[in-house]
Amino acid sequence: MSETIHVQKVDDYRFRIPREGKMRTEGLIFVAEDMIPDLKQDQSLQQVANVAWLPGIVGPSLAMPDIHWGYGFPIGGVAAFDVEAGIVSPGGVGYDINCGVRLLRSGLSRKDIEGRIKEIVAALFRNIPSGVGSHRKDFKLSPKDQEKVLTLGARWAVSQGFGSAEDLEYIEEGGCIQGARPDWVSPKALERGKDQLGTLGSGNHFIEVGYVETVYDPVTAKGFGLFQDQVTIMVHTGSRGLGHQICDEAVRKLIPVTTQYGIELPDRQLCCAPLSSPEGKEYLAVMAAAANFAFANRQIISHWVEETLEQVLQIRPRDLSLTLVYDLCHNIAKFEDHEWKGRKRRLCVHRKGATRAFGPHHSQIPVAYREYGQPVLIPGDMGRYSYVLVGTPKAMEETFGSACHGAGRLMSRQAAIKAARGRSVIREMEERGIIVQGAGKGTIVEEISEAYKDVAQVVEVIHQAGIASKVARLKPLGVIKG
């Protein structure tokens, strides 16, 4: 447990873990004071302190308000490393490499789909593969194509007719991380990924049909193309078995490598390699391949979502007008240029269960959004709401342009199952106006709202800390889960 970790208040939304022992820097957690007792119930604060041991860390070991216990790095953790002296750690990315989320906006209002949610959800559930072993018969990936997916990411998907070239500007990194080496990806990882491109996956992955319930910042909302009651689609998925296998193999490979480089760790799951080492470069190259797989996955699924809506609603593409607002990564390590303590630096920023949140005028955000900042998408649990925020200059100063990624779990899956005993979760959701359909027996039950922190609380911390600002709140109408 993290009860022995000392936490000092900096202000109402920032708490410091002082540098102690072998920590090379301090920890900095963005959280409200009343959330700290929950944090002390698991090892998340200890993990923030552990990350601070890693060599070449620049700035503090950061944690977002949705922080919870992970492997090595906490989920909700951000850490940046100097390109010369720093390391890369698969645990700082996570098993689901480039698990991420995208938001699509439509030309429809909530009233346009009133009474048709069940039909839409059923059709999405039919058309988007989500259960174990499910895949579409009309979509087959040859080994040559798989290599292109891993190299080109969403660009490959667009070249095959999934979405349009305009989408790429609205995806983090243009939907493709450079430097991927598919030839370094193991046969086992390729085997696991072979039939999984274009599938949702299980656990907390979902497709959500919702609408814009509240607009907080009308100017930015308009800039993002959002309006009150607008129908939206959110897609949350990642690199599937391919990414999981790559991470698994990387962790196994790097545990002894960490020792060879003389790096002392409090937790073997922080295993790492110097960024300049062959092992570090190898991990980055295969991680990029997995990230590109995930970008392609979300691009393909979005296309099928669009087709499904056109079929069910019997409307033309230009009337549906489904357009990508933004697509971003939750689990990634990337080279980025940041200014830290007055000095421009090239850093390898690890975000594990955290989101990029670049402020206004950054060259890496779409031209149309530059005066506002980068959209930050924060999905909540399936029963409450999700948020759209915008990155701020403060995020660039304090968190290497990073923010939270979601609600963060509060309750274990077993506790959730126990809490839901005797209840019909699907019926409860329907009574609240949300239609849910899932592939896995226990998935819906495990994903009940009580199992998650209230995302409004998480977002409020980020907003009040000035890291990202609220733009709009979305409410779910229909959800499909794997």
């Binding site: 919870h68 299980s202 296998q245 991470c247 509060l410 274990s412 998935t443």
Partner: protein
């Protein structure tokens, strides 16, 4: 997500097992803990003797309920489990059974086919992760589900086994949860009063 597997042995250590010079890791070069006729070659006699010994114990494999062999440990985002077995080989076998029990439920899985499985790792704890990872790989890529295992050979860094199971059928095998990976989080393997225990966490 994670499962902790802890194996507990409540009977004397089987005398047919050869303890290696490292002490509590024993090298069963020719030992077969099988209950099956289709065991590793050369091990049939030993298997029969072992079967007689094992029938006396409380943790005989193949007998329900599997849940007496493992318990779930709470973890915020994932699943932990502790499993117990009679010896190190049984630990690995019970770990595999618990893996499929948690994912699908052993009651649905028939033993229609056999699959030889071999893994290696730098140490025995990592071997447990490698073993369960291989089962996950076989499930995802070959759609194989298993309800029992014969661990034919086990040494500190490698394992050979035969899995008994069948091909996954969504109609017959409703999935309770799908694991993304087997992690090293809180991984532990230890012997306690002659009982083998292990703890593993799975990423969900």
């Amino acid at each position: 997500m994670g499962f902790f597997l802890s194996v507990t042995e409540s009977r004397p250590f089987p005398t047919i097992c050869l303890a290696n010079s490292l002490g509590y890791f024993y090298n069963l070069l020719s030992g077969c803990n099988g209950h099956y006729s289709a065991c590793c070659s050369g091990d049939r006699e030993m298997g029969k003797r072992e079967k007689r010994i094992w029938k006396a114990g409380p943790f005989q494999r193949g007998e329900p309920p599997i849940r007496e062999s493992y318990r779930i440990i709470s973890h915020t985002a994932d699943l932990g489990m502790e499993v117990q077995g009679n010896d190190l080989k049984d630990l690995f076998a019970q770990a595999g059974r618990a893996f499929f029990d948690l994912m699908i439920g052993l009651g649905c899985i028939k033993t229609k086919k056999e699959e030889r499985i071999g893994v290696s790792a730098p140490d025995t704890e990592a071997l447990l992760v490698a073993w369960l990872s291989e089962l996950l790989f076989l499930f995802e890529t070959r759609r194989l589900v298993f309800s029992d295992f014969n661990i034919c050979r086990l040494n500190p860094e490698s394992l050979e086994a035969v899995g008994l199971g069948e091909t996954y059928d969504p109609q017959k095998h409703p999935v309770r949860q799908v694991f993304k990976a087997v992690t090293y989080h809180q991984l532990a393997l230890w012997e306690e009063k002659g009982v083998w225990k292990a703890r593993v966490v799975f990423d969900l």
